[in-house]
Symmetry: C2
Subunit: 464 residues, 2 copies
């Protein structure tokens, strides 16, 4: 095929007089008497390229008839200054080819507006709409910024396993992964399913986090991060839950909670900045059409130094306020969304990091403070977003960790390697995790998490 | 903690007279009368930094005793020119701190050489060895190069689902993903397991490929790629099979097989070049210690224009040669490793791309040629490596695809959306796939695929 140019490139730097070939899908066609305006989009940008196609081109009238909304086309011609408002440049077509038509009677993406619910049912087509197109461009830009952020700082991207034989985080329900014949599984003498005959020789699950394995890698490479899929078998049919989602989990050796907070703050600023810079049209679209606060939220993250405050001080602030909460506040409770939003939006009016939570409401691997009651945990809270990052300094002392594992009733045997990391060259280390889809939700203002991942997996749904 | 520098950075650009702090793990310690040589490594490079630590530092003698192989330490001091051979610079320590010791009696990574089998059993420590350290640095560099290659060309990274309700590729055995109570699963009236009561409302599996969903995304964004985990429940205990591995699958709209071949060739050249440039010490190590042909192989890929030849012509060459093969050659057979290696190593002596295979030995989605017998498939073969990439132009014609699906006996209903892509704005498109771990195996010369992924999943093994 002849060399073609992407539409984003033409819109940004194309000059009148240049001869170009473009390929894409027709978004709209407006027929005038002797010519048609055809707007085509190739997914590289929110805006399409407007082409003026004369009916008197060879086969012009016939071809234009077939160039309906949704059809795939190739146009060649010359770029000219556009007389139309809102576009710098347009294409004066010298040839048009239709590769594949889209029947106007049945093609579901006609010009009218569709609900996001409806679009989920046609997830094989919905990326051709303005909103989903913008979502997945932002998603790509943000994903790329994640890698750039860590790679620039010498972090290694490590691939932790998805199939795991342990549920050591105890973070909710797990999917079982099995190669057994489920109609007639082998049985033990006692009559239970004999997982020793399963593919991995024991029962296996889909992981809920790569953190423990990332800690292994940090104990050799100092700074590492994961960026991969994780799973929850939670039967939560909400706008914030997915059964399959992508997580980012940096882990740093020779690093305490302060270093961890510095990294989390720098990370958020970096990825928001990257998306604002690289996807300005898409972000403006979200701010105009989806949520009028997304640009403001992004600026608030980029421009403000994050406040840092202990859980104990946060509870004091919440106890003192006149504001009434649905969930009453006292030391020891887990902060609810209403509390987090009050702190970020009303009290500090900027992002903040709450640290040193009660040990009882946090995971076993978090480093115990000298008070014996709180752990070196941190949650990053942002205005209009709430909690966006959770992390901690990890317990690096073998004896303390062992007691914590016993206290919460986890099987020490299956954590033998995690304990051994504390036996051989143990160091202070810390890390955090964030759900990539939640981040994209926050950036774009999209209300339902199902609309920021191409093919969402939720209860009762694994279509496509 | 005070600011420290990574050892790679010091080795590359550190200057005599600079004051630095470094943190890492002791690899070796050689005690002299009044001082010790301590080599420390932080995972940033193959080579460690040699420090000269005087016993008369404050607590020096006492601390040095604890700074055994494997201990985590911090050293501060001044960089000086090294009198030793093979190193430009070393550290004259002014202070040493041991964070965590490693008992010389039990720490498994003492100086002697260990088998890779043994190291797999201590996968929580093996990244601290020279070989595995180099493998995972190369792996990271290559992974990053993959993203850079595609992002520079305007491809979107798309996250295709891992949990899927269809086995449409039919590529071997699948893992089932279930939330059912396997001891007492719900039953249908007929007595079979009632998967309609499972989490997703139907039986679900772990995916073997993201290609079909990547095609969806290419039909909106033109150029996309996946880079994520895939799964095979094949009971293959070989040095080339994993149950969980990472795949890269670009997919391009408005692209035929020629464009696909161009991309595959450019891609391989790019990632090999990136690793040679960014990990020279690691690659030299592999060439010296693991496989004396890895640098030559890399050069052969970077420097040669890939030969392009049809399957039919390849068979003619194989039929004509005097060489005797274990598997006899005739038109219609799938090429075996011995045939592929003969073509690449002996006949062409460079990488080649074989195209247009018989339809019967290739997947249903590959574009049928006008001869009605061959499809627009391609395999990239390289000297000493064999097949490294497989791809094709996809069947974009709805009626032809429908007949192919029927012919191979796949359920058309579950592919409704795949067929609809051909109904609405269908275009020529093409893509390929490659297994990331195989690529790393080829780059590094590592014999066993279990040694190029941090925590391998294989039959009977899901440890860590």
């Amino acid at each position: 095929m002849a060399t073609s140019r992407r539409i984003l490139d033409i819109l940004r730097i194309g000059q009148p007089g240049e001869t170009v070939t473009v390929r894409g899908w027709v978004r709209t066609k407006r027929d005038q008497k002797e010519f048609s305006f055809v707007e085509i989009n190739d997914g590289s940008s929110m805006a399409g390229l407007q082409a003026v196609v004369n009916a008197d081109l060879p086969d012009g009238a016939e071809t234009l008839k077939r160039a309906n909304t949704g059809a795939s086309v190739e146009l060649s011609g010359t770029l000219v200054e556009s007389p139309a408002k809102g576009q710098r440049i347009e294409l004066k077509a010298e040839s048009i080819t239709v590769f594949g038509e889209a029947d106007a009677e049945t093609y579901p993406l006609q010009k009218k507006r569709h609900s996001f619910e409806f679009l989920r049912d046609i997830a094989h087509l919905r990326s051709r709409t303005n909103t989903l197109g913008a979502v997945f461009r932002v998603r790509n830009t943000c994903a790329n910024a994640v890698h750039q952020f860590f790679q620039e700082r010498g972090f290694l991207w490590v691939h932790t396993p998805l199939i795991t034989a342990s549920d050591c985080e105890g973070a909710g329900e797990l999917f079982t992964v099995t190669g057994l014949d489920l109609e007639k599984p082998p049985r033990t003498k006692e009559g239970t399913v004999d997982f020793s005959q399963d593919f991995f020789g024991k029962r296996a699950y889909l992981t809920v986090s790569g953190q423990l394995e990332a800690e292994i890698m940090a104990m050799a490479f100092t700074d590492v991060y994961t960026f991969g899929p994780t799973f929850r078998a939670e039967n939560s049919n909400t706008s914030r839950h997915l059964a399959e989602f992508w997580m980012i989990e940096p882990e740093m050796a020779f690093c305490d909670l302060n270093g961890n907070m510095d990294l989390a703050e720098a990370f958020l600023k970096y990825v928001f900045q990257a998306v604002l810079e690289q996807c300005p049209e898409d972000m403006e679209f979200f701010n105009k059409r989806i949520d009028k606060t997304v640009l403001e939220t992004a600026q608030s993250i980029i421009e403000n130094e994050f406040e840092r405050i202990t859980y104990t001080d946060a509870v004091k602030i919440l106890e003192k306020t006149d504001k009434s909460f649905e969930f009453p506040v006292s030391w020891g409770i887990d902060l609810q969304s209403e509390h987090e939003r009050y702190l970020a939006e009303e009290y500090f009016k900027k992002p903040l990091i709450v640290t040193d939570y009660p040990a009882d409401i946090k995971a076993f691997y978090m480093r115990m403070n000298d008070d014996g009651k709180t752990v070196r945990a941190m949650d990053v809270l942002a205005p209009r977003i709430g909690e966006i990052i959770g992390g901690s300094q990890r317990e690096e002392r073998e004896d303390v960790l062992e007691r914590r594992i016993e206290a919460v009733g986890l099987p020490k045997e299956s954590l033998w390697w995690y304990l051994e990391l504390r036996k051989y060259g143990t160091v202070e280390h810390a890390g955090f995790g964030l759900g990539f889809e939640r981040l994209i939700q926050f950036m774009t203002g999209m209300q339902n998490i199902r609309d920021v991942i191409p093919f969402p997996r939720t209860p009762q749904n694994a279509e496509f």
